[in-house]
């Protein structure tokens, strides 16, 4: 059912796109039609795949590192009110600085290679993961905490055996957001300075007026993001069902 909906949405989009190209009589260097883009995608499949692999590596590394850092921060915040008082204003302030503004500095510090893009992705997903997981950790049902206290549990044991497992659906919500944001971070990093990746390919194609190739790169990037989101969504849902609750709703 879901696949049929997705297919329907794609076909509608392509139809509207083709209609605009025909009705507005746009030249192909402004808006190429779907067929032309598909041709470009097929012709340059090796090139696109090579650059997509690099962007995917950046995104996956960023997602993994961001998830680990975010989860660790959330647990630290949940355990220590002092850390909370110190770190929460900094976290909120860090969100007020647009990541775009930091990209040139990161490129300066970390170079043109992989790590400046990974770090961009980490920066952009760190806050949503931390914030979602922290919220989950602070919303443990009071009854569980009372029961654990009466049983003589230590704070560490309550965190490990009750608060973290109870907050895993919230972490899933944070990771789903991360899956959408991480490619944005990586591509911004590639725009600012790099010699490979889908972001770089887009700029390159644009500069050489190969607009059909540019569109092909954009579509591959979109497909990448959607696949990542669907995978994480599927895993966290299966996980929530496995633990007996349908409570993974975002």
């Amino acid at each position: 059912m879901r696949i049929r909906h997705l297919l329907g949405a794609c076909l509608t989009l392509i139809a509207v796109w083709e209609a605009i190209v025909i009705l507005a009589d746009l030249p192909h260097f402004i808006l190429p039609g779907p067929l032309r883009v598909a041709e470009a995608m097929w012709r340059s499949r090796a090139l696109i795949a090579e650059h997509a692999a690099i962007t995917l590596t950046e995104v996956l590394l960023g997602l993994a590192i961001g998830a680990i850092l975010g989860a660790a921060t959330a647990i630290g915040l949940a355990l220590s009110p002092r850390l909370r008082a110190l770190l929460q204003p900094i976290l909120v302030f860090s969100q007020a600085v647009p990541v775009f503004a930091l990209a040139p500095i990161l490129t300066l510090w970390l170079g043109y290679g992989l790590w400046s893009k990974v770090f961009m992705a980490v920066l952009i997903i760190y806050f949503p993961v931390t914030s979602a997981f922290f919220d989950g950790l602070m919303r443990t049902p009071q009854g569980f905490l009372d029961m654990a206290k009466v049983m003589g549990a230590s704070r560490g044991a309550i965190m490990r055996r009750i608060r973290i497992p109870a907050a895993l659906p919230a972490l899933g919500t944070g990771l789903r957001l991360g899956a959408v944001y991480a490619p944005i971070g990586a591509v911004i990093g590639e725009w600012v300075g790099s010699s490979n990746g889908l972001g770089y390919l887009m700029l390159l194609a644009n500069g050489r007026a190969k607009i059909d190739l540019m569109f092909a790169a954009v579509i591959v990037l979109g497909a990448l993001s959607v696949t990542l989101y669907v995978t994480i969504d599927f895993v966290s849902r299966r996980f929530a069902e496995g633990r007996g609750g349908g409570d993974a709703s975002p």
């Binding site: 009372d146 009466v150 003589g152 549990a153 055996r161 633990r243 007996g244 609750g245």
Partner: protein
């Protein structure tokens, strides 16, 4: 399990400066079931939380002491209306959670024995979501017994069950929790009349003791003395409110 102590609660409580309940004296006899009955919001659960050493959002002036003068909270086990089973853990894991939370090695053989005693031997590896409401409360009862504490605090543990399951659970709990000091907080006069060795009705102003029928709990559901007491409790609750 250490010998069950008696418990004495003396004092009153205020909530944000307003009186929740006037100073009262409640005595839980050692090894007996004491039922505390009363309308919602009168502070029954607060008394239970105070005995258990849990945070209660009230100012309590007074003292809660055991007849043997030893601290009470380490000797308490607690069962609430919600079964509090961890949804991601199996019945067996839930029953043994106390030891795990204290960093001890759970006695699995004992856990299996208790699961069998509450009639869940075939369900030990299931998740709570696969059980009925009655089965879930049985699992919670097994978890409470696994703690092997001398003082058992019950906060309306049977009130969400249908009439037949409730009567079954009452019988099972009376059998398995004998020789322990039990405080049952309830708003069901029938339950109090059926299970209490001592029965107290709490209103905002005072605590009134009712004499329990001579027969031993759990009393038959058609025991005339029990039914008469149930009627008296009903009437008192309606007039007090």
């Amino acid at each position: 399990m250490s010998p069950a102590p008696g418990i004495e609660v003396k004092g009153g409580a205020t909530l944000d400066g307003a009186q929740l309940f006037a100073p009262l004296a409640l005595r839980l006899e050692a090894g007996r079931w004491t039922c505390l009955l009363g309308p919602s919001g009168v502070g029954k659960s607060t008394i239970l939380r105070l005995i258990a050493g849990l945070d209660a959002p009230v100012e309590f002036t007074g003292a809660i002491t055991a007849t043997d003068s030893a601290p009470i909270p380490p000797r308490v086990a607690f069962m609430a209306q919600s079964d509090l089973l961890l949804p991601w853990a199996s019945v067996a894991e839930n029953v043994a959670i106390g030891a795990k939370l204290r960093g001890e090695q759970p006695d699995q053989a004992r856990a299996q024995g208790l699961i069998a005693r509450v009639g869940l031997a075939d369900h030990a590896q299931k998740r709570p979501s696969e059980l009925s409401g009655g089965q879930r409360q049985r699992a919670a009862l097994a978890r409470t017994l696994m703690e092997d504490r001398a003082v058992i605090l019950l906060d309306e543990p049977f009130s969400a069950l249908d009439a037949r399951t409730r009567a079954e659970m009452q019988d099972l709990a009376t059998e398995l929790l004998s020789r322990r000091t039990v405080l049952l907080v309830t708003h069901d006069p029938g339950e109090a009349a059926r299970l209490g060795h001592a029965i107290h009705v709490m209103t905002g102003e005072a605590l009134k003791a009712f004499e329990a029928p001579p027969s031993a709990p759990p009393r038959a559901v058609d025991d005339p003395e029990m039914l008469r007491l149930q009627g008296d409790l009903h009437r008192f609750l309606r007039e007090a409110h």
